[in-house]
């Protein structure tokens, strides 16, 4: 009994501070914006304490000059663009990141450590700096156009910056280390003897990948995928710098509402919408097949 009490005390001392901090400065703030999303906006900043669904209906409808409610797809388009770009980013990151993580994990230890180190260095480089470096490459007087003109392939600069493609490159460039590291961690733990067993049982490379490697690295793949998808969806820097701030994504839309547009309720509503998509992604993760093996480990 005493032992149990001591353990409970220790539990509180250990867990308490982290949980309290997150509760006060994260959960309560989230409750606040949930409330704000049902209030009216104050054009001078902040909110008016009047209950209203205006913030949510603004997402789909607007009032025209005669005060009729009309359908307005502009915000829906922003949502769609964000979703597609985030999905494309995740898929590209997986397609590039998996072979890289796998290749690195199978190297001899000294080389492996060096390569992991090289993956982490851009991590340490400021996100803005990394995105900015692509402006230097993609702009009209940038490196790519200069090279293409110099070699005579084109004679006028082609527009590369401020396109969806530029945003996509920026997002992949930004988030790809997030996918390499978790996958690497799972591949590194793979037991090579399983490969040998599969080989002895006449499995070819495809079968080895399909039935041994992919299922066992699934937790890393899914964790990495979520680590890329979630921040891509709410990305702000890449769309603003490489998309020129005109091709808005959800992140920029929310930021604008709290900055220049001063419509906190609408900003809060869009933020909650973004949260909802993220929760759906999480749910897919929890209900997905990979989670089961993970839970099996916990039970065992």
């Amino acid at each position: 009994m005493n032992q149990a009490k001591r353990e409970a005390t220790r539990r509180w001392l250990g867990l308490g501070p982290a949980i309290l901090l997150i509760f006060i400065f994260m959960i309560i703030p989230l409750c606040i914006i949930s409330t704000y999303s049902f209030l009216e906006s104050n054009p001078y900043g902040g909110v008016k304490p009047h209950f209203s669904f205006a913030a949510y209906s603004q997402f789909l409808f607007e009032l025209d000059f005669d005060d009729n409610v009309v359908f307005n797809p502009a915000y829906l388009m922003i949502f769609w663009r964000s979703f597609v770009l985030a999905l494309a980013t995740t898929i590209l990151c997986l397609l590039i990141g998996f072979p890289v993580a796998y290749y690195i994990a199978l190297q001899p230890p000294s080389k492996r450590n060096l390569l992991v180190f090289l993956v982490t260095i851009p991590f340490w480089t400021n996100l803005l700096i990394r995105t900015f470096s692509w402006i230097l490459i993609l702009r009209d007087s940038g490196v790519v156009n200069n090279i293409l003109i110099w070699t005579g392939i084109i004679d006028k600069p082609i527009t590369l910056l401020y396109t969806n493609g530029a945003i996509l490159i920026g997002l992949v460039y930004t988030y790809i280390p997030f996918i390499v590291l978790p996958i690497y961690a799972t591949v590194e733990k793979l037991d090579i003897r399983l490969f040998e067993a599969a080989h002895d049982l006449y499995a070819n490379r495809r079968q080895l990948m399909r039935y041994i490697i992919l299922p066992l690295t699934a937790p890393g793949i899914i964790a990495g995928g979520i680590l890329v998808f979630v921040p891509s969806l709410g990305a702000f820097i890449a769309p603003n710098l490489l998309g020129g701030g005109k091709k808005l994504m959800l992140g920029s839309l929310i930021q604008l509402q709290f900055a220049s547009s001063r419509n906190w309720p609408f900003g809060s509503a869009v933020a909650l919408l973004l949260m909802a998509v993220v929760l759906i992604a999480m749910l897919i993760y929890i209900l997905g097949p990979a989670r089961k093996t993970d839970m099996g480990e916990h039970a065992g």
């Binding site: 353990e7 539990r11 250990g14 867990l15 982290a18 949980i19 901090l21 997150i22 400065f25 994260m26 989230l30 606040i32 914006i33 704000y36 590039i96 072979p99 890289v100 796998y102 290749y103 199978l106 001899p108 230890p109 450590n113 180190f117 982490t120 260095i121 991590f123 340490w124 480089t125 400021n126 803005l128 700096i129 990394r130 402006i135 230097l136 490459i137 007087s141 490196v143 200069n146 460039y173 280390p177 733990k189 090579i192 490969f195 080895l208 490697i213 979630v230 921040p231 709410g234 820097i237 929310i254 930021q255 709290f258 900003g267 809060s268 933020a271 909650l272 973004l274 949260m275 993220v278």
Partner: protein, 270 residues
Amino acid sequence: MTNNKHTSPRRFFKIGQFPGFGITTLLFFLFLYIPLFILVIFSFNTGRSATIWDGFGFNWYLKAFNNDDIQRAAINSIIIAITATTVATMLATFAALILSRARKFRGQNISYAIIMLPLIVPEIVTAVATLSFFSAIGLKLGLVNVIIAHTVFCIPFAFMPIRARLQGMDSTLEEAATDLYANDWKTFRYVTLPLLMPGIISGAMLTFIISIDDFIITMMVAQAGSTTLPLYIYGMVRMGITPEINVVSTIMLCISTLFVSLAYLVGRKK
């Protein structure tokens, strides 16, 4: 590692190797590093353009070093990152120890979920929620506001590598220590902590990056006078691209690389 030696010559491929993975890795690293090299090279450009080469020189470096705003922003960034990293890593270490080493208890899963929450919530949502909260309670403590915000979202980044390390650690060593009459503190100090250290260091590294890298939350939460380097760089990029941005970026890049190299060497030590 010895497993490779068992591969007999009759096998027509090396087990577990896939064609094209090597070349993908090479291209990946080129993709990762070429933009950074371009950035560094053009910081030595003497001309006014950031992408048209004029000549080699250090004139933009002199200009940046004498810029008081840059100095102030750098100091702010470092204060915030060090404080947030220290607090977040400590809290995360304790939380990870409880969640992976203690016996199962009610509320374990919900505790885990709360700790991972800042990772799940998109940064922009955290940013506007924190802004709303600080403005609702009227908290105006300058840098402290930014430090609080950073500490909170850094916790899971410190937590994950520490917990991963704990899960990979053999708990029989700790049991052995207990069997040899080491008390809880001694077990922790001489067995758990040294084994856990690489996890704590990589957790702290990750946290430091996340903090010093952060732009969005800082942008929303920072008041006048709390400008950090990312905020300053963003302002410069919006005003027009000059080699001065390349200079500041290159310096940040060098400091980061130096820092991560040191952490890497320390982490490798037995």
